[in-house]
Symmetry: C2
Subunit: 321 residues, 2 copies
């Protein structure tokens, strides 16, 4: 891997252009290639993360609402994507913001836990490339052989690819048919090590799932709509890394959860920075549950969700007094 000559050229071109501020034709002269090639190399440099263009996400934390949310829910940092939408599609707006925030939080040498879901995959897909050495991306929960492109291992691998990092997948099914089998599998050295390593992460990226018939768990066949309804009746409030949690953010005591191979919530809570991203307004309750369970220290949401959260916090504190 000792830097191929082509890569060397990309590096040099990027260096002259971005660090020294030469124009493309000047770079072309220096390197004795055509300007068109320089343009091409520069694109590659951007795509591979040899150059990093990042925009400060301050604007979105500096908001008064964000500050109030931080206080109300004891969060380390909150980013609010304006709903009025600068841009055509409002839901990608949150994802773009989340990707920037994520890249801002990652540091060299970090170990990053990644869960799965449409949100996470959208973020991965939209995230720009970076050239982090010594970063490991680990998968937080077992796999689902779904026809979706956002399978847990896909999310992990895609993010690893973007960061130029090592991806650590684990190939156990997310959910098994019997509790015994799940228990046995969890005890397998390969799996056990992977699960144990999760608490060592420096940063986690996940969203929270809703407990309804539209949930990924249903779509992927892990649960039937009927089972979902039953779980809801039993107090299920959300889904984190494939596990069903109740309104207080604890694992719901149910057969399904006992059959799941995924990160223990305690391990997740041991991770210093837990970045939760929520796109859909419908995930209000699941988000509340996740926050209640201390599963989130950094939060990226839309303006509308932010307002609901604040209103809720206000009502709660009024009731308390």
């Amino acid at each position: 891997m000792a830097i191929r000559p082509a890569e060397q050229l990309i590096h040099k071109a990027a260096w002259l252009y971005y660090a020294h501020g030469l124009r493309q034709d000047e770079v072309a002269n220096q390197l004795k290639i055509s300007r068109a090639s320089v343009a091409m190399y520069l694109r590659k440099a951007r795509e591979t993360g040899i150059v990093n263009i990042s925009t400060s996400t301050q604007l979105f934390t500096d908001d008064v609402m964000a500050r109030r949310l931080e206080d109300a829910f004891k969060l380390d940092a909150v980013w609010i994507a304006p709903e009025n939408a600068y841009v055509a599609d409002p839901s990608t707006d949150i994802a773009v913001l989340a990707a920037s925030v994520f890249l801002e939080l990652v540091k060299k040498g970090d170990r990053i836990g990644v869960a799965w879901g449409r949100t996470v995959y959208t973020i991965a897909d939209i995230m720009s490339y970076a050239d982090l050495q010594d970063v490991t991306v680990v998968q937080l929960c077992g796999n689902l052989g779904a026809p979706y492109s956002y399978r847990p291992d896909q999310c992990t691998m895609e993010i690893a690819r973007r960061l130029n990092a090592k991806g650590l997948n684990f190939y156990a099914p997310l959910v098994l048919s019997t509790e015994e089998l799940a228990q046995g599998l969890r005890a397998e050295p390969v799996i056990r090590d992977q699960l144990a390593g999760i608490a060592d992460c420096d940063l986690a990226l996940y969203s929270v799932g809703a407990v309804d018939a539209d949930s990924h768990l249903v779509k992927c066949g892990a649960l039937t709509p009927a089972e979902m309804t039953t779980l809801r009746g039993q107090g299920a409030a959300g889904v984190i890394a494939g596990q069903v949690i109740d309104a207080s953010g604890e694992v719901l005591d149910c057969s399904y959860n006992r059959r799941v191979i995924s990160a223990e919530l305690a391990s997740l809570r041991a991770i210093e920075k837990r970045l939760m991203v929520v796109q859909e307004d419908s995930k209000f309750e699941p988000l509340l549950a996740a926050i209640a369970g201390g599963l989130c220290t950094h939060l990226v949401i839309g303006a509308h969700m932010a307002e609901r959260l604040l209103a809720h916090a206000g009502a709660a504190s009024k009731k308390a007094s």
Copy 2:
């Protein structure tokens, strides 16, 4: 400082352009301003560090020579600027590299010690802007009221400005006329605190000065050429943060050093990352002294200097065996 409306616009434009990848005219439409204004805002955004464009400096560490130097001198990382010069002025080449390396090493919340000299000022001058919150830049040594633009406080302030950080100057003279006065001044609470705080830095940036008539110390009137010659005779090998060191990298026992107000070498050594940048080939011996004294963990030099260092290391190890 609650974000002025103009700044808000800059942020939004930068966000749409760099994060969402819209074209300038699309951004202009969104924000209902002319495209020319957008271009202007974007320039401001780059200038103020709202967007960060950084290029990986890997190319310069990945060099075989750099690795060998790291081994030979037990350094954490070495960057070598190719001498053949991509670009017109070879000395700025090193400074540009140093600035990039520096920005790569800085992290949020860091405390950064900055010394002074032409090299440091060149770096400050060339360094691109960044938007680091919670960063403090502290001055490592007393001031010299020189007509030069690279006074210690200037270096500190300029770097602080570029990083959007807090600058902590200290207004004591670098050198006093009597040892008693220096001692008294060092005991002053303001000065004492500043000096004590140096060991808490996470990162230091300095160069090393030569012990000759061209030295800054002479140009700024701190020492006469004759005194310099005398010091040289007494074993002076280099200048670090205004202090004269011997070949082993220890403070030389001389009146001048006792009259200086500057960071103790022990404090400097307590700093985790000590980034030393050397532009001039003539500073070979001073650099050796600084390395010997453990005053440098990260090193940025030119190719020629790198060769000399390696040759020296080779000769030394041959002699030893």
